[in-house]
């Protein structure tokens, strides 16, 4: 049989395998040969007793401040994360995404992405008034370029052509923040002059 004939004729039922040669070359070859003896087979195994849970429904974590949730949930889940609560304009955008649109709607996700960009701008502006303003040099980690052979590592790589966009993604919120700041200052000055 030539290569060009393979799909056009039936061929053997199973591809012949030299088990001994493979076992010699590959540590553990065939250790999980039986599909029915693999840890995730079958996909669903009904056995609530094995998980370690000693509750039917977990006790509810106290909701110390209002917690946003997907409208596809019938209720707040018993346990939830408490990192970075909603705040500011980004919080309003995210709250709208959760309250108004299900996960099936593109608007839900695009609003959340918009909230992320607003959050970055808000946070940059806020950091300028803090004792530790954002520092794009240290926070982007670019100081590693010299130590990590930045130029040699990229030589001949196909992804270099779109890496030029990375600085735009990084600088975008800064440009927006400066623009928003300048606009706000101008508006305040105009109001003061009236």
């Amino acid at each position: 049989m030539t290569d060009a004939e393979t799909p056009y004729v039936a061929g053997p039922a199973r591809r012949p395998v030299d088990r001994d040669a493979l076992r010699t070359r590959i540590p553990g070859w065939g250790a999980d040969l039986d599909p029915a003896d693999r840890p995730s087979y079958p996909r669903e195994v009904y056995d609530p007793a094995v998980t370690g849970a000693h509750w039917d429904l977990p006790e509810a974590q106290p909701e110390l401040r209002p917690r946003e949730r997907s409208v596809e949930h019938a209720r707040l889940t018993p346990v939830f994360g408490t990192s970075a609560p909603l705040h500011g304009a980004s919080g309003a955008v995210r709250r709208l995404a959760y309250r108004r649109f299900s996960e099936g709607r593109a608007a839900h996700w695009f609003l959340l992405l918009l909230g992320d960009r607003v959050d970055a701008v808000e946070s940059h502006v806020r950091s300028l008034a803090s004792r530790r303003p954002d520092d794009p040099v240290t926070e982007t980690g670019v100081l590693a370029e010299a130590r990590a052979h930045g130029i040699a590592s990229r030589r001949g790589r196909v992804d270099v052509r779109h890496q030029v966009l990375d600085p735009v993604v990084v600088a975008g919120p800064w440009v927006a923040a400066v623009g928003a700041g300048a606009w706000a200052v101008r508006a305040l000055v105009r109001r003061a002059r009236r």
């Binding site: 946003e68 596809e72 939830f80 959340l112 980690g141 590592s153 779109h162």
Partner: protein, 382 residues
């Protein structure tokens, strides 16, 4: 405590944050000793995952020591060295009861389409992650396990996601003895999937990437044939020719949302966020697998739509299988394989950085500098 915090796309730093507290009776607080940066953390870092908030701490691969336990915790004690699966799950909901631990319904109020994950945006529940000195671990009786004495801490660390996910991906591919398996992506998950494919009886394993240093690792670590897709005009055609014009029996997508190989897809997906990632690898998988074959998707994608060539998948009669790995289901067998030397997880670790240098660690990993395959953050002594 000191913790990595997100400051916006491509920007992270180490901040002083309050130590986590017991918020639920079955919580534990774990002092982190080692954490890892996962390829999927880069999707957060690049601003691709919706509802990634400034101030959030990433990190879903970590090991550490139990510092405090809630009043209902029975299975862990203060001082236990633990490995914590990246999944946060209750163990008792409709889905957990069926073994779908990564699809738990009781831990993520922000979305029903995904379960809970440490340090992976509010889209997966808003839990701070383990790239910090301390982390809150919900459902301490369900998720974490005590690290066996014989297991190296970095092997334990890699069992919390990358190894378990790669091994799970090979299982989803439904590999039968003699199958030709193509793995797209030679990152940590791709390397582990390729190595696992042999355990399930593959006769050939071909790994595809564009980074020569990672392909060299695939040859040495995963005993695979390799293909640098930038060296051929048409990767699908090349794979067809390399598989007797049939296509591979099974293809594993271990790339996900930031795939290179098509500038338009990459820019619209990974840079402009107009789709939930760049489906280049997924489309190559669909086109390079043989008719009636299986595509296993381990690459992470966002919750929005992507321009996937679904018609080809239908017409070829493919089986598409995918999920976040239910990590703890894999552990008993994985530990057997690690102990037997069939899997050698920490061989892929290339960089170890202190927590204070986390921004540089992210940059090196993201820009693929210095031969980086897997960076580990050394947080504290074991």
């Amino acid at each position: 405590m000191r913790a990595m915090t997100y400051r916006g796309p491509y920007k992270v730093r180490v901040d002083e944050k309050p130590e986590p507290v017991i918020e639920h009776p079955n919580d534990a607080v774990v002092r982190v000793t080692r954490a890892a940066i996962c390829g999927s953390d880069l999707h957060l870092y690049h601003g691709m995952m919706p509802d990634t908030r400034v101030g959030h701490t990433f990190g879903h691969e970590f090991v550490g020591v139990v510092e405090e336990v809630g009043p209902s915790v029975r299975n862990l004690s203060v001082g236990d060295r633990v490995m914590v699966p990246f999944n946060i799950y209750c163990g008792s909901c409709f889905f957990c009861a069926r073994g779908l631990y990564s699809n738990c319904h009781n831990v993520n109020p922000n979305a029903t389409a995904v379960g809970g994950i440490y340090g992976y945006s509010h889209t997966t529940g808003g839990y701070d992650g383990g790239q910090a000195q301390y982390v809150r671990v919900p459902f301490a009786d369900v998720g974490p396990s005590v690290v066996p004495d014989w297991l190296h801490p970095e092997d334990a660390l890699l069992c919390t996601d990358a190894l378990a996910t790669g091994y799970f991906g090979a299982q989803l591919a439904e590999i039968a003895e003699g199958d030709v398996v193509v793995v797209l992506g030679a990152g940590p998950v791709g390397l582990f999937a390729a190595r696992s494919a042999w355990l399930m009886g593959a006769s050939r394993v071909i790994v595809v990437d564009h980074l020569d240093y990672r392909l060299a690792k695939a040859r040495e670590f995963a005993f695979a044939e390799t293909l640098n897709f930038t060296e051929v005009d048409d990767v699908v055609l090349h794979l067809k020719k390399a598989t007797d014009w049939l296509g591979a029996d099974r293809v594993i997508d271990a790339v996900g949302a930031e795939a290179d190989g098509n500038l338009l897809q990459h820019v619209t997906g990974a840079k402009l966020k107009l789709q939930a990632g760049s489906p280049v690898a997924l489309n190559w998988a669909i086109d390079a697998v043989r008719k009636g074959g299986t595509v296993s998707v381990m690459g992470a994608y966002g919750p929005l739509f992507t321009s996937v060539k679904f018609g080809d998948a239908v017409n070829k009669g493919l089986t598409l299988r995918m999920n976040q790995a239910p990590v703890k289901r894999q552990w008993p067998r994985l530990l057997e394989h690690v102990r037997a030397g069939y899997l050698t997880p920490r061989d892929i670790v290339t960089h170890r950085v202190p927590l204070e240098d986390v921004a540089e660690g992210y940059h090196i990993f993201s820009a693929k500098l210095d031969g980086c395959i897997k960076p580990v953050i050394v947080v504290d002594e074991d």
